[in-house]
């Protein structure tokens, strides 16, 4: 029997320091056995358990799109035992990945529709995967207008700076980047994500909204989304929850009759309103 | 123990006078020789309160959660006014909590009650062998029990008392606002009090280790001992710290022993021998094995008793220049 608790060995191929605070690093992971990559097959929005033998596992959203073959990207914040170890690790070290886990963003449902992607801070990781996927040359024509609104505390805290620039340069998508407070070199938006979203006011006609960010941002962005006319069924969020097994057994991420690990982490706002307020 | 009516009357009075918002005492459970900790908010519910030799739990363990500022609470925290029924050991735990700044004295109205000791449910259950305890009555200094296989047995109440109650030195509350009843004078000398310690220490070293291992190996890590203990109020228990990680979460025997040794050390100079940990343990582990040894040493080496008054500093928060050094290694 296949054992869902066994991680695939992966080698840390590259470590990128993402922010000025140096507590966010992106790890490029390459499967030690190429056969494993073939069966891994993830979809943007899914996550994996990153395994460091001797320390434990952490559930982390997959930041790369399946269109970026050859490796997986994970952007990881330094918070505890496992992530400390990862932040101290060097390139070349072999760790493990268990997954892909959870429900993905509804990329089929998005076909033929406009997609508005709103992200804040460090919660931008699976949104990166989604944007890379939607804007990939093989997929781009399947989707309508793509609008991205992304904000961070300061320019130094923005993730994926090279890609942000590349997206802004593209003429087949619109990318709005904002920071709470800019520095002397900052020429973009200044202000919180809800305000900027309100200002750029993407149309909700024939569109889906994908929203990821810290709780406080979500709280203030939801009213804006409602004002823009996005229905709860068309508003897609991704939850964070403490997890262990990732396959709906261990009970840790249980909210109501759902398990965030297997029924989520991606939920529509409509689905979330059915759940008890316990996340 | 005919104080039950007094308990109800005092609780009702305090609630009616609005001296307290809620009153914590004991209520009947549906199980023989077991009561439930019970909080009432209205004098109409006062008749739910009971007082009998099955009122085992140390109610002081509930106080820090009730009285301390809830996590994330902003603004001026006004703790609720709480009335609590306190037998001797509970009152001593309250003293310890007040001295450790875990609960405010002025939020509490302590109804002290004279206690004649509590029955050890674990002991009675043991006497019935493999059958289940299904019924019990306590009357006239006797405990009569019936088992699922029909066996009936009667014990002297004294014989069925919890081991800690038999050597209790403070049957009346050491601190109280209202007092119910008069406790019988207890004449427990030090030798009798620490007889179990002496007996265990007499065993050979490796036999002690084997006995310790056997006792602790039954632990299931439910932490009932910790949670039932008023002294265990740490926000984060060392057993659950991850940096540094003292122990894992498994039932590894060495980790189990480290947990119980660590917990015993943390109780040093604070344990009032209320027996709550032993009564709470679903596996009936004799946790007093460790605590009583430390209690013995604290008393014989440093004198005085733990948590008997608000004024006296606790033994491990003081020292004397001439404290014993016989245990130390002197290269000469």
């Amino acid at each position: 029997m296949n054992n869902p608790y066994m991680p695939y060995p992966v080698r840390i191929d590259e470590i990128i320091i993402e922010n000025e605070a140096r507590d966010l690093k992106t790890f490029r992971l390459v499967f030690v056995d190429p056969e494993h990559e073939k069966v891994f097959n993830h979809i943007p929005g899914q996550f994996a358990e990153i395994s460091v033998l001797g320390k434990g596992e952490s559930p982390i959203g997959i930041a790369s799109s399946p269109t970026e073959a050859g490796s997986l990207l994970f952007t990881i914040k330094r918070t505890g035992v496992v992530t400390d170890e990862l932040h101290n690790a060097r390139e070349g070290r072999v760790i493990g990945v268990r997954g892909p886990l959870g429900k993905a963003f509804p990329i089929e449902r998005m076909k033929g529709k406009n997609v508005v992607i709103v992200g804040g801070g460090f919660a931008f990781t699976t949104l990166r995967a989604l944007i890379q996927y939607l804007t990939h040359e093989e997929n781009r024509s399947d989707y309508g207008d793509i609008t991205v609104v992304y904000g961070a505390r300061s320019p130094g805290e923005l993730l994926y700076k090279a890609e942000l620039a590349a997206w802004q340069a593209r003429d087949d998508m619109t990318t709005h980047i904002t920071v709470d407070k800019g520095d002397d070199d900052w020429t973009g938006y200044e202000g919180f994500v809800p305000a900027i979203l309100d200002q750029v006011a993407p149309s909700s006609t024939d569109a889906l909204m994908v929203l990821c960010g810290p709780p406080i941002m979500i709280k203030f962005t939801l009213p804006v989304i409602e004002k823009l006319g996005f229905a709860p069924a068309d508003t897609i969020l991704s939850l964070e929850m403490r997890m262990k097994c990732g396959i709906g057994k261990c009970g840790r991420c249980n909210i109501g009759s759902k398990y965030v690990c297997k029924d989520g982490p991606v939920f529509t706002l409509e689905e979330l309103s059915d759940l008890p307020d316990e996340f | 123990m005919s104080y039950q009516e007094d308990v109800r009357r005092e609780a009702a009075k305090l609630l009616d006078e609005k001296t307290v918002h809620l009153f914590i005492g004991y209520a009947d459970s549906d199980l023989p020789l077991k009561t439930a900790a019970h909080a009432i908010r209205s004098s109409a519910d006062a008749d739910q309160l009971v007082w009998n030799p099955a009122c085992t739990a140390n109610l002081a363990a509930l106080l820090p959660d009730l009285l301390k500022r809830p996590e994330g609470f902003r603004g001026e925290w006004e703790p609720p006014k709480v009335g609590i029924l306190a037998k001797g050991c509970v009152s001593r735990s309250i003293v310890g909590l007040i001295k450790a700044n875990q609960i405010p004295r002025d939020a509490l109205t302590i109804v002290g009650i004279a206690c004649d000791g509590m029955v050890s449910r674990h002991w009675v259950v043991d006497q019935l062998g493999t059958a289940e305890l299904v019924d019990a009555t306590i009357d006239g200094g006797k405990v009569s029990v019936r088992a699922s296989d029909g066996t009936e047995k009667t014990f002297d109440l004294d014989e069925a008392l919890a081991p800690n109650c038999r050597v209790c030195t403070h049957r009346a509350a050491v601190i109280h606002d209202v007092a119910i009843g008069e406790a019988a004078e207890m004449d427990v000398d030090e030798a009798a009090r620490y007889e179990s310690v002496r007996a265990f220490a007499e065993k050979a070293l490796d036999d002690r280790w084997a006995a310790f291992e056997e006792e602790i190996s039954r632990c299931i890590r439910c932490y009932a001992c910790r949670e039932a203990c008023p002294n265990c109020y740490c926000n984060e228990c060392f057993a659950e710290e991850t940096e540094p990680k003292w122990i894992g979460v498994t039932t590894d025997l060495s980790d189990l022993m480290l947990f119980h040794l660590g917990r015993a050390f943390h109780q040093a100079g604070r344990c009032v021998d209320c027996g709550a940990c032993v009564a709470a343990c679903p596996q009936a582990i004799d946790l007093r094995l460790l605590n009583q040894k430390i209690n013995h040493d604290v008393q014989t080496l440093y004198g005085g008793e733990v948590s008997v008054s608000l004024e006296q500093p606790e033994p491990l928060l003081q020292f004397r220049m001439e404290d014993d050094e016989g245990f130390m290694t002197d290269p000469g």
């Binding site: 296949n2 054992n3 869902p4 608790y5 066994m6 991680p7 395994s51 033998l53 001797g54 434990g56 918070t79 072999v94 964070e240 929850m241 403490r242 262990k244 097994c245 709906g248 057994k249 261990c250 009970g251 840790r252 109501g256 009759s257 316990e278 996340f279 | 459970s29 549906d30 199980l31 023989p32 009561t35 439930a36 900790a37 019970h38 739990a57 509930l62 959660d65 809830p70 996590e71 674990h122 062998g129 493999t130 059958a131 289940e132 305890l133 299904v134 299931i220 890590r221 439910c222 009932a224 949670e227 039932a228 979460v249 498994t250 590894d252 009564a279 709470a280 679903p282 596996q283 009936a284």
Partner: protein, 340 residues
């Protein structure tokens, strides 16, 4: 299927024969309690006992179980060859609980290979209850003292003799292998067994179980949880002794790069259970944790598996240090649901 009859000494012989060939787990009377243990000598087995303090779930779902071992960067699956195991003497409530664990561990196409490995190697011979304990309420949650659910063989104590009723093919095979030529039970024996079954039910209380799930859902923000959380200490005595609780933690144990990844029981009663790395805790207060225990069993599991995850063994009632009684919680909650 034919019901067999054996004297108690023949039963011991039969168990001895099983222990000779398979792994046998059965109740023994320890220094302080009856507990399930691996049996070498069938004379150790305790045939008359109150329900053990701890449920039989650890036989299929051990409190700590190694998932994988590692040395440096290499991990190895730690699944052993699961030996054929006969689990003798579990009470019908615990046997029924296995069918609930089955639902979780074989859910939505994802099997838990460790549980399934043990489960598939296990034959459950349960021992019917002829009297109910003080905390028992199996009849209120769909069970019964002589319930067969989850058992492969149901043994019924008739005093000097024991009836062995095969319930599944696996049970039939077990009896055919180890009890060839054993006497068939007579009509009179079966009648006596039926009388015991009825008599055992008699002692049980009628606990109200909330069946209106929508109504129960509405109680999420009710103050009723606070009533019971007030005296809850937040320990795991209830959940760890529960035969249907199945939540676990996964941790690593390591010394100089060598060690294992292990799963251990965990409980929603501990605040750390849901504490995020960020410091956020979705269930920060005790009332939320008390509610989770009750609603998981009586609302979320019925929504997911069409049955309440409680078998009425009463262990949580017996073991609660402050005497919190799930039967009273259910009664109170049912009342509130009924009154809307």
């Amino acid at each position: 299927m034919t019901v067999l009859k054996a004297s108690k000494s023949d039963l011991r012989k039969l168990l001895g024969a099983i222990a000779g060939e398979k792994r046998l787990i059965a109740p023994i009377a320890d220094r302080t309690a009856v507990r399930f243990a691996e049996i070498a000598d069938s004379a150790e087995i305790c045939l008359e006992y109150r329900n053990p303090r701890m449920s039989a779930r650890s036989a299929l779902f051990p409190q700590s179980e190694v998932l994988l071992t590692f040395d440096g960067e290499t991990a190895t699956d730690a699944r052993p060859e699961y030996r054929e195991t006969v689990l003798f003497g579990v009470r019908p409530c615990d046997a029924r609980a296995f069918t609930m664990l089955d639902r979780v561990f074989r859910w939505e196409g994802t099997d838990d290979p460790y549980y399934v490995g043990r489960r598939e190697a296990a034959t459950v011979v349960s021992l019917a209850c002829n009297e109910s304990g003080a905390a028992c309420f199996c009849t209120s949650v769909g069970g019964a003292p002589h319930d067969e659910t989850g058992s492969d063989v149901l043994a019924i104590d008739l005093g000097d003799d024991v009836l062995l009723r095969p319930v599944s093919e696996r049970g039939e095979t077990l009896l055919a292998t180890f009890a060839p030529g054993m006497t068939e039970a007579s009509e009179a024996d079966l009648d006596r067994a039926a009388k015991f079954a009825e008599a055992a039910k008699a002692g049980q209380p009628d606990v109200a179980i909330p069946t209106d799930l929508e109504g129960l859902k509405k109680l999420f923000d009710s103050e009723v949880w606070e009533e019971f959380a007030m005296t809850c200490l937040g320990c795991g005595a209830c959940t760890y002794s529960c035969p249907t609780c199945h939540c676990f933690d996964i941790t690593d144990e390591e010394k100089r790069g060598v060690g294992y990844r292990v799963r251990s029981w965990d409980t929603c009663a501990f605040p750390l259970f849901t504490l995020h790395g960020s410091g956020h805790n979705p269930r920060p207060a005790k009332n939320a944790r008390v509610r989770q225990r009750v609603l998981h069993k009586f609302l979320y599991c019925p929504e997911n598996f069409e049955q309440v995850f409680c078998v009425g063994c009463g262990r949580c009632v017996t073991n609660c240090p402050t005497g919190i009684d799930i039967r009273k919680i259910l009664g109170r909650v049912s009342q509130l649901v009924a009154s809307g």
